[in-house]
Symmetry: C2
Subunit: 367 residues, 2 copies
Amino acid sequence: MTRSDLHRIPTTLADGRELIYFDDVTADREPAKDTRDLPQVEHHSTARFDVLTGEWVTLAAHRMNRTFLPPADHCPLCPTREGREPTEIPDASYDVVVFENRFPSLARSVPDTEPYVDDTPLWPQRPANGRCEVVCFTSDHDSSFTQLPLSRVRTVIDVWADRTAELSALSGIAEVFPFENRGTEIGVTLEHPHGQIYAYPFLSPRSAQLLAQAQAHHERTGRELIRDVLEAEQAAGTRVLVQGEHWTAFVPAAARWPIEAHLVPHRQVPDFAALDDAERDELAALYHDLLQRFTAFFGEEPPYIAAWHQAPVGEGRELTRMYLQLFSLRRAPGKLKYLAGSESGAGAWIGDTTPEAIANRLREVAS
Amino acid sequence: MTRSDLHRIPTTLADGRELIYFDDVTADREPAKDTRDLPQVEHHSTARFDVLTGEWVTLAAHRMNRTFLPPADHCPLCPTREGREPTEIPDASYDVVVFENRFPSLARSVPDTEPYVDDTPLWPQRPANGRCEVVCFTSDHDSSFTQLPLSRVRTVIDVWADRTAELSALSGIAEVFPFENRGTEIGVTLEHPHGQIYAYPFLSPRSAQLLAQAQAHHERTGRELIRDVLEAEQAAGTRVLVQGEHWTAFVPAAARWPIEAHLVPHRQVPDFAALDDAERDELAALYHDLLQRFTAFFGEEPPYIAAWHQAPVGEGRELTRMYLQLFSLRRAPGKLKYLAGSESGAGAWIGDTTPEAIANRLREVAS
């Protein structure tokens, strides 16, 4: 379903990592060579099973020395420009570009590990094989996703679809998770507008939780959980922000973040790759609209996390569907929501507003 | 098991909240009257069931206006001193004091709610009845738990035991959770050395997870999960920090925070109230020691969360035991661990060190 005017041009970086240009404006690229003398980063990512929670925790000790907020003229996500140090992107310009993270949490070909920590069956461990990709949304360092033209948002959706299809096909991948962290307040280490894609070798804890809930709901009712949630939100209407032909955006009934919205497809579509053209077009418009509202809500672009939950690659795929969870830790201008004892220690979330109040405000600020 | 030289003197604040002095030095207190004209804070805390995760989320809209980092001379946790505005503590001095939070997340006598959000059975809701208490560890505004003398740490343990017993006996309480948030970097709104106790009307998500794991382990092996974890850590030895007669401290095999230690009792003891004198004495010494190591690790007191997990008040109580989870978000001086897309969105934790490296460092810095 990728548009025919999107040009996909793969190349390879000096240390063997894959890089793909996705050109929606630029025509006829002949990719430049990566001239850097780049040492190989050794990956020793290991996932350990936490028997107290039933979750996998990834340890990636090689990430300790990753790049942290470099000055703008050393941004590794800008194109490589004449007279400046080469960046991660060898070409002098790009539209959208994807490449493998140099300091990945989940890596290709991690060496084998012992099956258990300290030979103790209580503590299974495994190589954290997977893949972490960086997606640069624009070559303009000072822009942001919120400021992209709609046509570019549409391109990024095609890119997410391309990457989801390709990463899902790699052996051992259980889930493909595209996301964007925006804002230094949530620890973004590079300011250049970009997102990431993690291809996990296990189901993420959030997806495992959702799948367990969806499974139980299906056994009880014979129905798909997210469909029922979507229809209930549409019927109640109290938290709906916008209802399109293919997607509906709403503040969820039990929102846990100070500002949170879900954008859910009307069809049971597992991931980006399975979206048709009409769904992609409308998604571009509605996601763009949601980001504008988040900005209007605070009077400036807030820090946010855009989490694109997709159905598992394997088992359980038919029980759920893709959806966007867009949220911010900002409670009010200058005030962050902190995850302290109750949230971080006990996992018990306390909010100081209501989903209906947030929905009202997000409706008021619609442009 | 509370020491006979600890004097427990209850009184009532102007708005009816309970306050209890626990004096370990002061003798013969006649509690002063709270002279403030204090309006009642209306509590409308509601818990909503998040069907996508299976967790309860609490909404406490009245907390939006709580006190936020007041100047030291307006600290509401200092004693009420001659010529200054009255504080939350009417007396001119105290040793340790506990009182009900004025802006509680979980409150007494919350009005009834409709059983479902928008009459939709997918979204159960309930009044968030419970109790939130503040525990002031010392009247010295500029001190910290780490700087307390051992005798005071022992008093606080008795106070936690007293409160656990009393709060567990309230109707509808499923879990009592004492914790301390330390450091403005994790959002502490009052600098005065203090902790909190939440009495939840539901099992916290973390405890529910642990209970599910403990239940599965028990069905498989007939044994208690935390006992097996404790014995495996002792046998491996690679992450043990200190092993006493009644308690062992270790960095857990699948630690998820940049620095994290667990302190686990050797006996299957459900909560503070059930600890005997010898266990309390050793706990005071070992907890004090752990906090000193955290400080030495960073060269200064780091932000931290001390989460005292206790067994459920009701069902499942025999399957688990109390333990301390002490952790910091600080990765290195000036560097915080942020919970971004992978952690906050997907629940998949990525660390950039190993539990063994943290344990080695925490052993080196032992005083």
